[in-house]
Symmetry: C2
Subunit: 331 residues, 2 copies
């Protein structure tokens, strides 16, 4: 694949740096999902690791490089998963991590960032304000700012998922990828277009956070004033130009889905695959639900990219209620 | 490890026969579980595959052998997971599968057995009556009877989990293994005792289905008249003598746990690891909960052996209620 910022040789080399605990994740057919979706569905499961998302692939690269450079500190903005993964990768490498997040991020993500030893700073505002604050900290303290999707290591880490997909048999007709900042989509998409160009690369974003999808369709950066989605992991407003440029080269399509489709997708993944997922991880199933004809009879892979979700909200979204009883939360 | 029916060379050879989709499953620390348990905990996750349990490892061996012999049919009794896995492995190998199960087995397991093309016969009684009926069918029809835990392939398949555990770093202090018929325990235990004898092998069974554990402690087969546990996957009453003989050689201990500990274990695996599991897969966590002092400060692996659970019962057990709304179940 020519023209993007990614390179297959570097992605292959990344596999040798990333802790194997994040690599070679399960990829399997979920036939119980298929009657409800009208197509063959395989999941690429990125949740069965210590940080419950794919982000460790990228943070392993970043932390390894920083440690090799003799760096001592790094700061990032995070919706929650990047910060958790960076804290995990930095621990043991003598790197101090500061994570800036929105006060409205899921408590489970914030709790894990703290538990992994990072300094957590909360901002009263959304992810874009957290990005601004992280940049200010980096300038003030003179430390490295890790920018998700802009920094190539975050894309290369995600791209190792693409290598695992193209090495799998049987091959697939389409891959559905959650679209937020774009690291996952451009990384996986680059490998697919380079190695299996016949596979359709479809990015999926919530209607309530459509900035990158609109930008892709109009081929120029379009920002929005606000977001309104439960899919906290992909709720950006200001696409990064260099990432959009890559996305324009590798994506075959970018689609928007309704919140109701996301919650139905979450419920289907629980009922028919036994998987608890965060909203961003249900975007692929949501896209199938909204356009069954497009996928009918085809074999589709959806990347289940994270499972860090507050359970009270989760049960509310999928239609269950959980009574909190004394003593239960402590366990 | 001398004296058991298992053999390391055969177990290594088994890895070359089993579909890789069942092998090299995730093994990772779940630090979020640890404050509640007082020890380091890693999970070996056997649910991220097309049949959502470890049983595919054994049925791949069985189906491959039968297909190689020119066999056309096989019958087994199953609490649900073996039958589902056998149906999966037989499909595409031109083998007709009949599964005999208790009418009280979880609907999700029975539905998947049917969906995978097996003939399902239900008996009014428990798993031991299903075993009797399966044997009668085998005699009458002159076809192969697959007996879980007695037939060595079921133990060898499970034992490949043991190879993956001993190859992992860092090593562990103890492994907690759900004990039912005994294939999982004797298989994994054999490899651990042969390759990492310092690791404690602890079998865990419900107080409501204690036959094999009592047999292990008294060193002779003890049967019970009934079972009373939600852990349907391990609810046997009649231990198999040859399996008990192996278990006596490889297990360091066998413990019984209360139902309340199993449900707390299920709830903790959901809340702190994001994992929906069937009751049998929570036995290890239940064992830690019941004897924290024993495990304090040690590194324990628990094998999460299956996730096929009826969600209504699951939510009832963990303390959530799920309102059924029109149209939702169809999805």
């Amino acid at each position: 694949m020519q023209g993007t910022r990614l390179d297959i040789a570097r992605i292959q080399a990344a596999r040798r740096v990333i802790d194997p605990i994040f690599l070679d994740t399960p990829l399997y057919r979920c036939e119980a999902l298929e009657p409800g979706l009208g197509c063959a569905v395989s999941v690429k499961l990125e949740t069965a690791n210590p940080v419950r998302s794919f982000k460790g692939r990228g943070t392993e690269l970043v932390a390894s490089l920083l440690a090799g450079n003799g760096s001592r500190a790094v700061v990032c903005a995070s919706a929650g998963n990047l910060g958790q993964a960076l804290a995990w990768s930095a621990r043991g490498r003598r790197l101090d991590v500061t994570v800036v997040a929105s006060r409205s991020a899921p408590a489970v993500k914030l709790d894990r960032i703290r538990a992994l030893g990072a300094t957590l700073e909360l901002v009263d505002g959304d992810h874009e304000l957290a990005r601004d604050r992280a940049a200010a900290i980096a300038r003030h303290d003179g430390i490295r700012l890790l920018e998700d999707s802009l920094d190539i290591e975050t894309c290369e880490g995600a791209a190792t998922i693409g290598l695992e997909l193209v090495d799998a048999l049987p091959s697939f007709d389409a891959v559905l990828i959650a679209l937020g900042g774009g690291a996952l989509a451009t990384g996986v998409g680059h490998v697919l277009k380079a190695r299996a160009p016949e596979v359709e690369v479809i990015c999926v974003q919530p209607l309530g956070a459509p900035a990158m999808t609109r930008s892709w369709h109009e081929r120029r950066v379009i920002t929005t004033d606000s977001t309104d989605t439960i899919a906290d992991g992909v709720a950006g407003r200001r696409p990064i130009p260099a990432v959009l440029d890559d996305l324009l080269l590798i994506a075959d399509d970018a689609v928007l889905v309704r919140e109701a489709s996301i919650t139905t997708g979450m419920r289907m993944l629980l009922h028919h695959a036994g998987l608890v997922v965060e909203p961003s991880a249900a975007l692929g199933v949501a896209a199938i639900l909204e356009d069954r004809d497009r996928f009918a009879g085809r074999h589709v892979v959806t990347i289940v990219c994270g499972s860090n979700v507050d359970l009270d909200a989760y049960h509310r979204w999928i239609g269950a209620t959980v009574p909190v009883r004394a003593g239960e939360r402590a366990s």
